[in-house]
């Protein structure tokens, strides 16, 4: 759960700031019980709580709540019967999704309706009179009702879980028979490989997967020297990490406050290989108005005139740790590409300097964040850019009495290598399924995705093969051999300690489908190793993410995994019950239903708004609506910004339902780690306990006689 602790945390010691959510919840629980419940807590009796919960449970069952479960079951069967998944694994995972979705929908809707209506109804029809006039504390009433409806949810989850298991086992048996039949007639190697994988592992297989610690995409296999070459305008970029110290911020602050005498620049230094442009290069460069040295950027060269070499240029972006834009392009170098300084550059092996100016607004945005990347986009086609371990610095230049003083801000220091800066990160163009790398039949032209595994959880038995799960998008076009029905991809594992490589293992994945690749276990020994993924076909593009390559560290039981998912679902339903009871203590039941849904989905909803709530949204809206008067602009932008801030704050204290990942892992065939259950329990404990105590306090101070 998030918490708006960004500025509070500054004043708090880390042992409080790091666990602020827990502290706040503990404060509510302890404070609420000490102030309002000091008489009620000692009087609390389990027998009474159980009796109240049993009445709520019995009432729900006798109101025929369970009659909805057969409908949900019929719905799941109908939908899964009519699904048209071509892949058997996909089909069974879709069915898992339907089962869990139906269970989740049923249990949450039931919980909301039961819990929201219960208390207001008992107050309206005055049944509450006969409860509160017994030696029952309001705390026992709240706990009893939560427990009662949690028991109802538990029963529904149990019934739906038993059905899901039975139905999935039956479907698994049917689909496995189909897989065996298909294997008898299938000739396509890609499909056979996939089907064999299903037959060996089983369609309901559940695995523990280990994620790589780091993932980067390179135009070529990275050189060990740390100097990497990138072709201009080829879709490969460089990210240089920065973390501003207080003195760095102070210097940038001077450039912000006194722009007449201070200036902030990004100085990029690179060796550049300026090749003679091909016809295509010329076309590309001209289309993007990149000038040529001694030539023109517009139109073909005149007869008798040489087309000069194009001027090497780059574009800089400032992005955050998730690669989201922090500074608009217009605020860096006036929105134009930065060009290499060619004057007096006689030695072609000497590095070129490429300066870019940062606007005052850009500086202001940098000062507002702790960490950021400066992204270098090589723009000039035909130029090869050599990226050194420190390709750029931030320069703050001070004009003082006719003199020019230069203060340099280097990239973030590398904690593993004292005295050195963090090396740049390499990424590529992002497409639908991830970062794109080009495949090729020529080894020199192949791009590579590099996955670093550090301290990975490797299988216990490394005598035999170990498996990697691979899933990536695959695009084909241009030079792709149309006669070839399948894609070839290679995966190579190099052990970091032994430096031994298993060599490229070729396999035939389908786009966005799981493929399992086996290599000898010794290459992952120790848990530190690097995986290189390359496309082996011309005209082929692989689209990869960090999760595209994962090590299968263990196999697990599907039943256990299903049980964990259902347990998380039940914990979610308990959270729903608590929220519903909380809202029903102070509003009528129809409003309580709406409010419960708003509370439960608020965090998710604001997250979905994403960048729309970033600072500055008010100004954008004022501009979009065409306000020109400065007072009106100020009023609108101020109002919208305040609303955005309020929404962010409110959402931050609402429960985060993403901590209840009922379907995420199981529908990917991945084992749900026990940590997920604990995280769900953590949200339930924090939010749930606080809400129960607040409900008790409200009920304690509420006159229950209408």
């Amino acid at each position: 759960m998030l918490f708006p602790a960004s500025f509070i945390a500054i004043a708090l010691p880390p042992w409080i700031a790091n666990y602020l959510v827990w502290w706040v919840c503990a404060l509510i629980v302890v404070g609420g019980l000490l102030i309002f419940g000091w008489q009620d807590v000692p009087q609390m009796r389990w027998r009474r709580i159980w009796a109240i919960s049993s009445v709520s449970f019995a009432e729900s069952l006798r109101r025929r709540v369970l009659w909805v479960t057969p409908l949900a079951i019929l719905g799941v069967i109908a939908v899964s019967m009519f699904q048209h998944a071509g892949d058997p694994q996909e089909a069974i995972r879709q069915t898992i999704k339907y089962c869990l979705f139906a269970s989740g929908l049923l249990v949450t809707v039931t919980a909301i309706i039961l819990a929201c209506t219960n208390l207001p109804r008992e107050i309206d029809n005055r049944v509450i009179y006969t409860i509160v006039t017994k030696p029952t504390t309001r705390l026992e009433i709240v706990i009893g009702k939560v427990l009662g409806f949690a028991r109802v949810s538990g029963l529904i989850v149990l019934i739906m879980g038993a059905f899901s298991y039975a139905y999935l086992t039956w479907e698994n048996w049917q689909l496995s028979a189909q897989v065996a039949q298909r294997l008898k007639i299938e000739t396509d190697p890609t499909t056979r490989q996939t089907l064999l994988g299903y037959q060996t592992a089983g369609l309901l297989s559940t695995r523990s997967l280990d994620q790589p610690a780091d993932f980067q995409t390179y135009e070529h296999t990275p050189a060990e020297s740390g100097y990497q070459r990138i072709k201009g305008y080829f879709g490969y970029y460089v990210l240089v990490p920065f973390s501003l110290t207080p003195s760095d911020k102070s210097m940038l602050g001077s450039a912000l406050n006194d722009p007449a005498h201070w200036q902030a620049l990004v100085i990029t230094t690179m060796r550049l290989k300026r090749n003679v442009p091909t016809k295509d290069d010329v076309q590309w460069n001209q289309s993007r108005k990149i000038p040529s040295e001694g030539g023109s950027s517009i139109g073909p060269p005149l007869p008798g005139q040489d087309q000069g070499k194009p001027v090497p240029q780059i574009t800089l972006h400032v992005v955050d740790w998730d690669y989201n834009e922090l500074v608009p392009p217009a605020e860096i170098n006036g929105g134009k590409m930065a060009a290499a300084i060619l004057e007096n550059h006689t030695d072609p092996n000497a590095p070129y300097t490429i300066p870019s100016v940062l606007s005052v607004d850009a500086i202001q945005k940098l000062l507002a964040v702790d960490k950021f990347f400066i992204e270098i986009i090589p723009e000039t086609s035909s130029v090869e850019y050599e990226v050194s371990p420190m390709p750029l610095v931030l320069d703050v230049i001070q004009q003082s009495g006719g003199q020019q003083l230069e203060h340099q801000i280097k990239p973030m220091p590398d904690p593993r290598r004292p005295g050195q800066v963090m090396p740049p990160r390499f990424i590529s163009q992002i497409s639908r399924y991830g970062f794109k790398i080009a495949g090729s039949t020529k080894p020199d032209d192949r791009a590579v995705a590099v996955y670093h595994f550090t301290d990975a959880q490797v299988p216990r038995n490394l005598e035999g093969p170990v498996g990697f799960r691979f899933r990536a998008g695959i695009e084909r076009g241009g030079d792709y051999d149309a006669a070839k029905a399948w894609s070839v991809v290679s995966l190579e594992v190099v052990n970091t300690q032994t430096r031994q490589s298993c060599g490229p293992v070729e396999f035939h994945p389908e786009t966005n489908q799981e493929t399992f690749v086996a290599i000898p276990g010794k290459y992952v020994q120790g848990g530190d190793f690097t995986v290189y993924v390359r496309g082996m076909d011309d005209g082929q593009w692989l689209e990869l993410t960090r999760a595209s390559v994962q090590l299968i560290s263990a196999e697990h039981s599907f039943v256990l995994n299903l049980t964990e998912s259902l347990l998380i679902l039940w914990l979610l339903s308990v959270l729903v019950v608590i929220t519903a009871i909380f809202t029903s203590t102070f509003v009528s039941w129809p409003i309580a239903v709406v409010l419960t849904i708003v509370i439960l989905l608020g965090h998710w909803g604001v997250n979905e708004l994403g960048d729309a709530l970033n600072p500055g949204v008010g100004r954008s809206i004022a501009t979009d609506f065409g306000f020109s008067d400065s007072t009106q602009v100020k009023l609108v932008s101020g109002g919208v910004d305040a609303l955005a801030k309020l929404l962010t704050w409110v959402s931050a204290v609402l429960p985060d339902l993403s901590q209840f990942p009922v379907m995420d892992d199981i529908t990917r065939g991945v084992s749900t780690p026990p940590r997920q259950v604990l995280e769900a329990l953590n949200v339930l404990a924090c939010w749930g306990l606080s809400m129960m105590v607040i409900s008790f306090v409200i009920l304690k101070n509420k006159e229950v006689a209408p």
């Binding site: 019995a58 009432e59 005055r126 049944v127 009179y129 509160v132």
Partner: protein
């Protein structure tokens, strides 16, 4: 607050003002009520609709909170959950879980008290017998009960903990004449067991039959308080009760009284009723027209 051992209920300056949304006074439902109910007595709380008697009971049970003043039961502040172990309450209608049957209802309410399991098992059928619910009725859901049956099960739940004080709100409503008689007998039997009974009723003859003391509330204020017999007494008329006088003797008695200067003596049984008293109190407060406004 000084608590005397003899006191079962003590109410001091109890006031309840209902407020509107803006916090402004809307209705003064109870105004500075002072009252003491002794242990072992049957006390009647009378008044027209809106007089404040239900408010007083709700305040005693902690269902609502006083604006000012205080109330206590056996020395403990009203609403204290611990004292509810000794309190039984029959609301004016049987506000019970309609989906439970008679036995389940009593078992549920019994589990809210510190009643041992074996004792509860024994007490449930015993109480069902006392209130006159037969074996068939005990297994029926409450939603299928008639109004009279609902009152009986309501009474049983009020007695499940063998309370020291029982608050009965309109206990005979919905009961047939036999049921009403049984209810009055039960109240008298509770009194005989030394229990305190506070009852609210509009059926004034019922109250007259069983109550030791009564108070009449009107517009939230206590109008009168005392023993039923004292309040019903007509003080300017002397009643001589003689058994077995013949008509001649009655005639002689009348002549004798005339000789004594008594003008036109009536030799009958001059009594008034509780209803007369009730109406007189109400008429005194409505300017003599006898009209009472509901909710006033």
């Amino acid at each position: 607050m000084t608590v005397i051992d003899d006191e079962a209920v003590r109410i001091e300056h109890l006031t309840k003002v209902y407020k509107d949304f803006w916090g402004r006074d809307k209705v003064r439902a109870l105004d500075d009520l002072n009252l003491t109910i002794h242990r072992g007595e049957v006390f009647g709380l009378l008044g027209p609709n809106g007089s404040g008697k239900s408010t007083a009971i709700k305040l005693l049970l902690g269902l609502i909170f006083p604006t000012s003043g205080s109330a206590s039961i056996f020395g403990q502040p009203a609403g204290n959950t611990a004292i509810n172990e000794r309190v039984g309450f029959l609301p004016e209608e049987s506000y019970l879980y309609r989906f439970l049957n008679g036995e389940e209802t009593l078992r549920f309410y019994g589990r809210l008290f510190k009643i041992p399991r074996a004792e509860l098992k024994r007490r449930v059928p015993e109480l069902l017998d006392i209130v006159g619910l037969d074996a068939k009725a005990r297994k029926r859901k409450l939603r299928e009960y008639s109004k009279g049956m609902a009152r009986r099960i309501g009474l049983a739940q009020a007695l499940i903990n063998n309370p020291d004080i029982i608050l009965l709100d309109e206990p005979t409503t919905g009961l047939d004449p036999i049921g009403t008689r049984e209810m009055k007998d039960l109240i008298l039997s509770l009194k005989a067991q030394g229990k305190t009974v506070l009852l609210c009723s509009h059926l004034l003859y019922d109250v007259q039959d069983v109550c030791d003391r009564i108070t009449i509330l009107f517009k939230g204020k206590m109008q009168t308080l005392g023993h039923v017999r004292d309040l019903l007494q007509v003080k300017d008329i002397t009643q001589i009760q003689v058994k077995g006088l013949s008509d001649t003797q009655v005639q002689e008695m009348r002549q004798f009284l005339t000789r004594l200067g008594v003008d036109n003596p009536t030799v009958t049984h001059p009594t008034t009723t509780l209803e007369d008293l009730f109406m007189r109190v109400v008429q005194e407060n409505t300017g003599g027209n006898g009209r009472i406004q509901a909710g006033a």
